[in-house]
């Protein structure tokens, strides 16, 4: 079986196959043979060349979180959402930029209206989470195309807040 993941936006492919009691993993020009034991649905024990690693692992949608030897990595499966986005961008060369909340929170204020011209780094909205107010700033000079949220809305980090069309 072969899988593809994004590690910091870089695509990495990894294949695995069972060989007796062990598993062979290949990624790029690297190969490793591991004795793998399932500890729980979220934990594996790997022994690779005598070295023991306890892996904590969990996923949410297309994000996989892996913890190992005191380090946590985030991998992405090249999933449906990014693809849709990509197609959107292909569809219109000077596409819309979607501004999202940087974290789940509550919209305290929307500072702009549709059709407003905005400058780069202008504050577009304020989202509060965990007793901290966070200003959402414009990534570019442009014009507000659409506003999807209003004050009081709860938003998660995947929710589009505002669409901006770049200034041409």
């Amino acid at each position: 079986m072969e899988f593809e993941y994004l590690v910091k936006a870089e695509s990495r492919r990894v294949s695995l196959e069972k060989k007796g009691e062990h598993w062979i993993f290949r990624a790029g020009d690297q190969t490793l043979e591991a004795d793998v034991r399932i500890i729980s649905g979220n934990a594996f024990s790997l022994i690779v060349g005598g070295t023991s690693h306890l892996v904590g692992i969990a996923d949410h949608k297309d994000t996989i979180y892996v913890s190992l030897d005191g380090t946590t990595l985030t991998l992405k499966r090249p999933g449906a959402e990014e693809k849709r986005f990509e197609k959107g961008e292909e569809g219109s060369k000077e596409g819309i930029t979607v501004v999202k909340a940087p974290m789940p929170g509550k919209v305290v204020k929307i500072n702009v209206a549709e059709n407003d011209a905005v400058r780069k780094n202008q504050t577009l909205a304020i989202v509060e989470a965990m007793k901290m107010e966070n200003e959402i700033k414009s990534p570019m000079d442009g014009v507000i195309k659409k506003i999807h949220s209003s004050a009081g809305d709860l938003v998660d980090s995947e929710k589009s807040l505002i669409e901006i069309e770049p200034k041409t």
Binding site: E2, F3, V14, L16, W23, A34, G70, L73, L154
Partner: protein, 507 residues
């Protein structure tokens, strides 16, 4: 002793107080907002009462609802934890009127120490060293300007009702004074509903050293030594320890006596903390009283052997303090790391969401006070503290090594946390030397980035992900669409995610 106590708080501190109740044979009542029905404190308590919608003002800050929960369950006392209503004199006063015991100081003491300007006046009169500066709120700009000149720049603007760094501004010259005063007043107004500010001499790169004090209802007072809390980010403590690497026995004794005197002149009872700044010449200045159980209380417990929550409850129940100052001592070294739901690589943006996997640290000398579990959805409404990791060891060096090991043992997947940041602080050579001042984070971690994972870790992670996905695939009994699609010509395009680079917190 009480038979039943309401814990007017949530998260790790509520859990810690519930444990104390259980050990003391006291029934515990958790209160919870709608966001916290499944919270750990609700799971652990003997009884649980819903007190309203998620926003704190409609639940944990809602005095009527808390008092109603006390009445409804027949409880005799309220432990407020920290934050929320813990230092609110009005709440204490209302409970006093209702003949419900408030496990904390009396309302007069709360009022006095809550007013920073009045507290400064009181302490100065009692001979406690205070930071040079104003002892009253000025009437107009001219008065502020004159005071600033008299104090000498740089000066610090502070809110009279202050706390948590809100309203604070450093001003280096007269021309910056007016706009800074205006901004400070606005911030103070919005944070405390009170725009009063005053000026103090700005002390450069001090240490933050505080003393834990216990006072019973009859005025017996002991201190339980210091905690050094210099490792701060925007006036928020993130690592605390005791003993302080900076104190000599003689200085410790003097500061401890000063701390006791502070409580004495405040007419204070129950547990409290007296905060001092210690400058480079090892002069100490009274800063403020934290009139509650502190987040960092465990380091004191581990080194003195005194359980502060047990003591709070016993004092509130009217017991005499049977501790004698000369019998108290510090043993070994303790350090606490606060684990927050924040993204340290990204301006410490809050990071609410679901904890997909939790591995809690344990082992000899490791204490973990947590308020979360695997599957818990960290709400957006409250403080981002998830857990506290506290270690004890014979020496400071051993405690640092134990902390590092315990942090490596702590795994929280699904949300961002401050764990990688804490690891780097605890491993920093200057931290290891004990060179801890309030400027430490700014000086050494201003542009912190998480270390890149080693190539080995990365390949092992990829292998683990593949193994994980292969199990999902085979569990579903079919090859996943994903596995088939793997060769589709696909590439990552740049995408704007706002807030990732800019500092949104307004510093």
């Amino acid at each position: 002793m009480f038979k039943k106590i309401v814990i007017a708080n949530r998260g790790e501190i509520a859990c810690r107080i519930i444990r104390a109740c259980r050990e003391m044979g006291i029934a515990s009542v958790a209160v919870y907002s709608e966001a916290d029905r499944a919270g750990l404190h609700v799971q652990m308590a003997d009884e649980a009462v819903g007190i309203g919608p998620p926003p704190a003002v409609e639940s944990y800050l809602h005095m009527d609802r808390i008092i109603e929960a006390v009445r409804e369950t027949g409880a005799e006392a309220v432990h407020p934890g920290y934050g929320f209503l813990a230092e609110n004199p009005e709440f204490a006063r209302r409970l006093e009127k209702e003949k419900i015991v408030f496990i904390g100081p009396n309302s007069r003491a709360l009022e006095l120490v809550g007013d920073k300007v009045r507290a400064r006046q009181t302490m100065e009169k009692a001979g406690i060293p205070i930071i040079p500066g104003m002892k009253r709120v000025a009437d107009d700009f001219a008065e502020y300007a004159a005071e600033a000149k008299a104090i000498g720049y740089p000066v610090m603007i502070k809110a009279s009702a202050g706390g948590g760094g809100k309203g604070m501004r450093i001003v280096c010259s007269e021309e910056d004074l007016r706009p800074a005063l205006e901004a400070g007043r606005r911030e103070a107004k919005s944070a405390f509903g009170d725009e009063s500010v005053y000026l103090e001499k700005f002390i450069e790169n001090p240490r933050h050293v505080e003393f834990q004090v216990l006072a019973d209802n009859d005025g017996r007072i002991v201190h339980l030594f210091e905690r050094e809390c210099s490792i701060q980010r925007r006036h928020q403590k993130i690592i605390e320890e005791t003993p302080s690497p900076a104190l000599t026995p003689e200085l410790r004794q003097r500061m401890g006596e000063a701390a006791k005197r502070v409580l004495e002149v405040s007419g204070y009872n129950n547990a409290g903390t007296v905060e001092f700044l210690l400058d480079r010449e090892k002069r100490f200045f009274f800063l403020e009283v934290n009139a509650r159980l502190q987040v960092e209380h465990p380091v004191t417990e581990l080194t003195t052997g005194i359980d502060l929550v047990h003591r709070q409850i016993r004092i509130a129940a009217g017991e005499k303090l049977d501790l004698k100052q000369e019998e108290l001592s510090q043993r070994g070294h303790a350090i606490e790391c606060r684990i927050y739901a924040e993204d340290p690589a990204n301006g410490f943006l809050p990071s609410a969401g679901k904890i997909l996997f939790l591995q809690e640290p344990k082992g000899p000398g490791v204490r973990y006070d947590g308020g979360i579990f695997s599957g818990w959805d960290v709400p957006i409404y409250y403080d981002p503290i998830l857990a506290k990791l506290i270690v004890w060891a014979e020496t400071r060096e051993a405690a640092c090594r134990r902390m590092r090991s315990a942090l490596d043992d702590t795994v929280i997947l699904g949300i961002k946390t401050t764990i990688p940041f804490l690891k780097d602080i605890i491993s920093h050579p200057r931290f290891r030397e004990g060179a801890t001042t309030t400027g430490f984070i700014k000086d050494h971690f201003g542009d912190w980035k998480e270390k890149e994972a080693s190539g080995e870790t990365e390949i092992l992670s990829l292998a683990s992900a593949a193994f994980f996905d292969s199990r999902k695939t085979s569990e579903a009994g079919v090859l996943s669409v994903r596995a088939k699609e793997q060769y589709s010509p696909w590439r990552m395009l740049g995408k704007w995610r706002i807030g990732e680079k800019s500092d949104l917190s307004g510093e």
